[in-house]
């Protein structure tokens, strides 16, 4: 379970998270929606301890993420993350991309790491690309590689940061299909997304971020179909035209 308790985060004098509370249970899919600069991506970075927080606590399976004594490299093994920019490692083949972290972080043997990587690559539909270099692939394929690369670490949670925002429109579908598949596998996921229809379809919970706070949270029915707050209604009417 991920527990986010009264989290405050500032960049200099700019406070981007102003007291966030959120719980994500095992097996849940939580979508985070909201305008640019509302702080939703920052929250993911704080869960992963890529960014520090100024106040509050984030607890992942009883581990206090930002406590001094926490081994954050070890913690991140639990938390797979996929970014807006896919960040494929250009000097490695697809198979090496996906097997590097199991090999050097989990200290797996080469063969075992390759097996796991192959399994995850097959899972996201890249079974025919093992020896390809990622720079020769489409954005959608590279993003699926990024997902497989994270899954090869056998994480308990997956954090998705606007993973379709940098893709050409015709490539969005294949990446969303991969996320649907993960949900069906029972993966616990937090998806920061602009794909409202997708969020409505796959989520157990939807959180609407507005100016650094969670303005509204609930089932997709409650938040996307029948929003009560004015800010939510405004935002949705803008993105759904």
């Amino acid at each position: 379970m991920i527990q986010i308790q009264n989290v405050h985060k500032s960049f200099g004098s700019l406070e981007v998270l102003k007291g966030i509370n959120l719980e994500v249970n095992k097996g849940e899919v939580v979508s985070v929606i909201g305008g640019s600069g509302s702080g939703k991506s920052t929250l993911l970075y704080c869960i992963n301890a890529i960014e520090k927080i100024q106040q509050g606590r984030i607890i992942v399976d009883d581990i206090d993420v930002h406590a001094k004594s926490t081994n954050r490299d070890k913690l991140r093994q639990k938390l797979g993350m996929v970014f807006q920019q896919w960040n494929s490692f250009p000097h490695l083949t697809v198979l090496e991309n996906a097997s590097l972290a199991p090999r050097i972080v989990l200290k797996m043997g080469r063969k075992e790491a390759m097996e796991i990587a192959k399994k995850e690559l097959n899972h996201v539909g890249l079974g025919d690309k093992f020896d390809e270099y990622p720079t020769r692939m489409s954005g959608g394929q590279q993003q699926r590689l990024a997902i497989a690369r994270a899954l090869a670490m056998k994480p308990d949670y997956m954090l998705f940061d606007e993973v379709t925002s940098a893709l050409d429109p015709e490539l969005v579908g294949e990446v969303l299909d991969t996320l649907r598949m993960l949900r069906d596998d029972g993966m616990t996921m937090i998806c920061v997304t602009h794909e409202i229809a997708f969020a409505r379809e796959v989520s157990d919970k939807v959180a609407f971020f507005h100016q650094g706070v969670i303005e509204e949270i609930g089932t997709p029915e409650q938040v996307i179909v029948n929003p009560r707050k004015e800010a939510t209604q405004k935002f949705l009417s803008k993105v759904l035209h």
Partner: protein, 218 residues
Amino acid sequence: MGNSFFTPLSWNDTGFILTGVLNTVTISLVAIIVGTLLGLAVGFIRAEANRFTNILLGGVLDALRSVPLIIQLILFSTYVGAIGHPLDPFVTGSIVLSLYSMAFMSEVFRGGFESVHHSMATAARSLGMSYWQTVAYIRLPIGLRAVFPSWLGVALSVIKDSALVSVIGYMELLRTSEQLISRTQQPLEILIGVGLFYFIVSYPLSLYGRYIERKMAI
């Protein structure tokens, strides 16, 4: 009469010339290897360090890069000798040439490290890799690839600049040829030969660098 001091170039000079060739190759290799290792470390520090450290380091590197190598060689050998530690010309030459190449290579490597976008490192860290694993497996290999052609360019100029070490008495190729010239009075043949040697070493390497550059541009 009058010519009796001079004896023409002969096959017997081959050994002497080869000594010069060997010494040029040796000091160039030393300077390239030491310069590369130090340059990697300094380049990495510059890419990571705060502004204050960078201003300090940058000043030293600027001095090494802007003062002509020949002046650095003479200054170093004169003053280190003067404070009571006369050094062998090979040692002096190696130190000065290594530092000189370090100054250029550190900038090349710094550029390499900085060319790897920080989001790449963040992605690696998010997979559980430690800071140093990210450096060793991601930032270093990607950065080195990007700057390999520039590194090769610096290495080539180090080979050519090694000729200047002759001024402090190191018996590299130029110095041996100067001695041969004063004995044989055949400067044209000898200097053309020496020039040819540098060309034969440098040209294939620079062609290779251009080939790599083109390959990476695709």
